[in-house]
C-alpha cells in the first residue's frame, strides 16, 4: 500500500518536472524577441540600447539552464512573471480564476456522475428494451453535440425562452446552473456508456450467477454485486473526463462570461501573451497529474484486487 503510494508519487513528480520543461521550452522557442515586446509595452520605442537593457533586466542573457531554474523557482512560489499585454503580474487574479474554474469542474463532475449513473442503470435494468435504447440514443447525441452548440441551446432554452436562469455571470448558484449543465453533457454521455457496458459485463460473470442461484432479485444484484465491481472502472473514466473538462471550460467560460483559468488561457492565446499561456498551461498540466494521482488512489481504495496485489 505505502509502496504503491510512494511509487505513484515519484511517478507524478517526474511528470510534473516534464510538464514544467515543456511549458518553459514552449515560451523560449517562441518566435520574436521578448525584450522588444516588453520594451514596446513600456511605451518606449524599441531603441536597441533600451532593448538590451530590458534583456539584461529580465535575465535573457543568462544561460538557458539558469533561466529555467529561475523561472521554476518563481513559478513554484506562485510568481508567473509579467503579462506582455497588460504589464501586470500574471498571477494577480489567478487564485480567484482558479476558484471559478474549480466551481465549474466540481459542479459539472457531480452532475455528470449522477446523470450517467441514472442513464446507465436505466439501460442495464431493461437491457435492449426501450429505456436502454433511449439512454443509448441520448448518449450518442450528447457525445456528438459540440459543446458550444450545447451552450447556445441552453442559453436559448433556459434563459431566452423560459427565463429560468441568467445567461451569463458568476453570481450565486442560480448563475452556475447553465454552465454546469453545458459542461456536464459530454462526460455524462460518455460515462453512461461506461456504466451501461460495465454493468452488462458484470452481469455475465460467475458471481452474479451465484447470486441469482441464491435467489437475489435483479435490483439487488445490480446494486450490491455489479455496482461495486464497476466502481474502479467508473472512477478511472471519470478522472479522464474531469481532465477533459478543463478543455471544455475554455469554450464554456467565455460563453457565460466567467473569468476562469480557461478564459484567461484563451485570452492569452488570442493576444499571444506567452507568459499567460505558459502559466495556464502549467496549471492545466499540474491539474491533470493531480487528478491522475487521486484517481489511482481512489481505484486502490475501491478495488480489493489491486489492493491485495500491492500489500
Amino acid at each position: 500500500m505505502i509502496h504503491f503510494i510512494s511509487k505513484r508519487l515519484k511517478h507524478s513528480l517526474v511528470l510534473l518536472f516534464l510538464a514544467s520543461v515543456v511549458c518553459f521550452t514552449l515560451v523560449v522557442s517562441a518566435p520574436g524577441n521578448v525584450a522588444v515586446l516588453i520594451a514596446e509595452l513600456r511605451g518606449a520605442v524599441a531603441v536597441p540600447g533600451y532593448v538590451a537593457q530590458v534583456a539584461e533586466e529580465i535575465g535573457l542573457n543568462k544561460p538557458l539552464l539558469m533561466r529555467y531554474v529561475d523561472w521554476l523557482g518563481d513559478a513554484v512560489t506562485g510568481d508567473f512573471g509579467i503579462s506582455y499585454r497588460t504589464g501586470q503580474a500574471v498571477s494577480a487574479d489567478l487564485p480567484q480564476r482558479m476558484m471559478v474554474t474549480g466551481t465549474l469542474i466540481a459542479g459539472s463532475a457531480l452532475i455528470a456522475t449522477l446523470l450517467s449513473l441514472l442513464l446507465g442503470f436505466l439501460g442495464a435494468f431493461w437491457p435492449y428494451k426501450l429505456p436502454d435504447r433511449v439512454s443509448r440514443g441520448l448518449a450518442l447525441i450528447g457525445a456528438s453535440t459540440p459543446t458550444f452548440f450545447v451552450g447556445a441551446l441552453m442559453i436559448y432554452g433556459f434563459s431566452v425562452t423560459f427565463q429560468l436562469f441568467p445567461s451569463f455571470g458568476f453570481n450565486g448558484p442560480i448563475s452556475w446552473v447553465l454552465p454546469w449543465l453545458t459542461v456536464a453533457v459530454l462526460p455524462a454521455a460518455v460515462l453512461s456508456r461506461v456504466v451501461r457496458v460495465g454493468l452488462e459485463e458484470a452481469m455475465t460473470s460467475p458471481y452474479v450467477l451465484t447470486a441469482k442461484s441464491k435467489g437475489l432479485g435483479r435490483t439487488a444484484i445490480l446494486f450490491r454485486e455489479a455496482l461495486p465491481n464497476i466502481t474502479p472502472v467508473f472512477i478511472n473514466a471519470l478522472g479522464t473526463q474531469v481532465g477533459l473538462m478543463t478543455a471544455t471550460g475554455i469554450i464554456v467560460e467565455p460563453l457565460f462570461a466567467w473569468q476562469g483559468v480557461g478564459d484567461y488561457f484563451l485570452a492569452g492565446v488570442r493576444f499571444r501573451d506567452f507568459m499567460v499561456v505558459q502559466a495556464c498551461l502549467l496549471i492545466f498540466l499540474t491539474f491533470f497529474i493531480v487528478v491522475n494521482l487521486v484517481v489511482d488512489l481512489a481505484v486502490l481504495m475501491t478495488d480489493p484486487r489491486i489492493r491485495r496485489q500491492w500489500s
Binding site: E200, A237, L266, V269, R270, V277, L281
Partner: protein, 298 residues
C-alpha cells in the same frame, strides 16, 4: 470487381444511417461550389435576418447572406481542413508507429512515452498552446490540430506494425535475405496504412468538431469564409431575435459528427471474429470505452 466484393460485404455491416450522413457530407463538401444556389458572401442588408422564403430556403443571416448556400460551402471548408489535418496527423503517426513497431527496444519505449503524454493532454489545449505560440492562421490551425491528433494514429499503427512484424511471412523474408528497406516499405508500411485509414475515418468526426471549435473561438477559419462553428459564433449576438442562424449550423455539425461517431463504433465492433456472442461483444465494448483512459496508467 472481385477485389471490391469484400469491401461491399464490409460496408453492408455498417449502420446505413451513418453511411448516408457521411456520403452526404462528403458529396456536399466536394461539390459545394456547384451545389450552392447563391453566392455565400453576397450581402443584402435590406433582407437581413429574414425567414425562409422562395429565394432563401433557410432564410438569411444578419448581413442578408443566404444561409443554405453558406451551410453548403461550410461543408466544403470543413471537409478540406479535416482532410488536411488527418493526412498530416496520419503521416506523422504512421511513420512514428511503424518505426516504433519495427525497431522495438528503446526507440519503441521513447516514442510510446511521447504518445502517452500526447494522449493524456486534451487535444484542444495542445492545439491552443501551439496557436498561442505561433499565432493564429489557417495553416497554423491545421498544423496545431495535426500535432494534437497524431498520437492516436501513432498508437494504432504501432499496434498494427507489431502484429505484422510477428507474422511468419516477415520471418520468411528475413531468411530469404530481404533488406530492412524492403521489409519496411514493401510489407510493413502498406499493411499498416490500410488498417490505420479505417480508424482515421472514424476519427474524422472529432476532427471536424475540433475545427469548428477553434473557428468558434475565433482562432480557426476566419470570416468571411463560411464554417459551421464560425457561422454559429457570428449569429450568437442575435440569438434572441434570430435563433435559426445559431441552430442550423449547430445541427449540421452535430449530424456530421453523429454519422462519424456511429461509424467509428461500428468499425470497432466489426473487428471481432465471428461467431459473435453477446459476451464477447460486451468485452469488446469495454475495451472501446476504455480507449480514452488507457493512458492514465502509463
Amino acid at each position: 470487381m472481385d477485389k471490391l466484393n469484400p469491401l461491399f460485404a464490409r460496408l453492408n455491416k455498417f449502420p446505413r444511417a451513418a453511411l448516408i450522413v457521411i456520403c452526404l457530407f462528403v458529396a456536399l463538401g466536394t461539390f459545394a461550389p456547384w451545389l450552392a444556389p447563391q453566392d455565400p458572401s453576397a450581402q443584402n442588408l435590406l433582407e437581413g435576418s429574414a425567414g425562409p422564403s422562395a429565394a432563401h430556403w433557410l432564410g438569411t443571416d444578419h448581413l442578408g447572406r443566404d444561409t443554405l448556400s453558406r451551410l453548403i460551402i461550410a461543408a466544403n471548408t470543413s471537409l478540406v481542413s479535416v482532410g488536411s489535418v488527418l493526412i498530416i496527423a496520419m503521416t506523422i503517426g504512421i511513420l512514428m508507429g511503424t518505426i516504433a513497431g519495427y525497431h522495438r527496444g528503446w526507440v519503441d519505449d521513447l516514442l510510446m512515452r511521447v504518445v502517452d503524454v500526447g494522449l493524456s493532454v486534451p487535444s484542444l489545449i495542445v492545439a491552443l498552446a501551439v496557436i498561442g505560440i505561433v499565432g493564429p492562421g489557417y495553416w497554423t490551425m491545421v498544423l496545431a490540430l495535426a500535432l494534437a491528433w497524431w498520437p492516436m494514429s501513432g498508437r494504432i499503427s504501432r499496434a498494427v506494425a507489431v502484429s505484422i512484424m510477428s507474422k511468419p511471412h516477415i520471418e520468411a523474408l528475413r531468411v530469404l535475405g530481404a533488406s530492412p528497406w524492403r521489409i519496411y516499405f514493401g510489407h510493413l508500411l502498406p499493411g499498416t496504412i490500410g488498417a490505420v485509414m479505417v480508424y482515421a475515418t472514424a476519427d474524422a468526426g472529432t476532427a471536424a468538431l475540433a475545427v469548428a471549435t477553434l473557428s468558434f473561438l475565433g482562432l480557426g477559419i476566419q470570416p468571411p469564409t463560411p464554417e459551421w462553428g464560425q457561422m454559429l459564433v457570428d449569429a450568437l449576438p442575435y440569438l434572441e431575435s434570430d435563433p435559426r442562424q445559431v441552430i442550423l449550423p449547430g445541427l449540421a455539425l452535430t449530424a456530421a459528427v453523429i454519422g462519424f461517431n456511429t461509424l467509428g463504433e461500428a468499425i470497432a465492433l466489426n473487428r471481432i471474429p465471428k461467431p459473435l456472442t453477446r459476451r464477447m461483444l460486451a468485452i469488446r465494448r469495454i475495451e472501446v470505452a476504455g480507449w480514452g483512459k488507457e493512458n492514465s496508467d502509463a
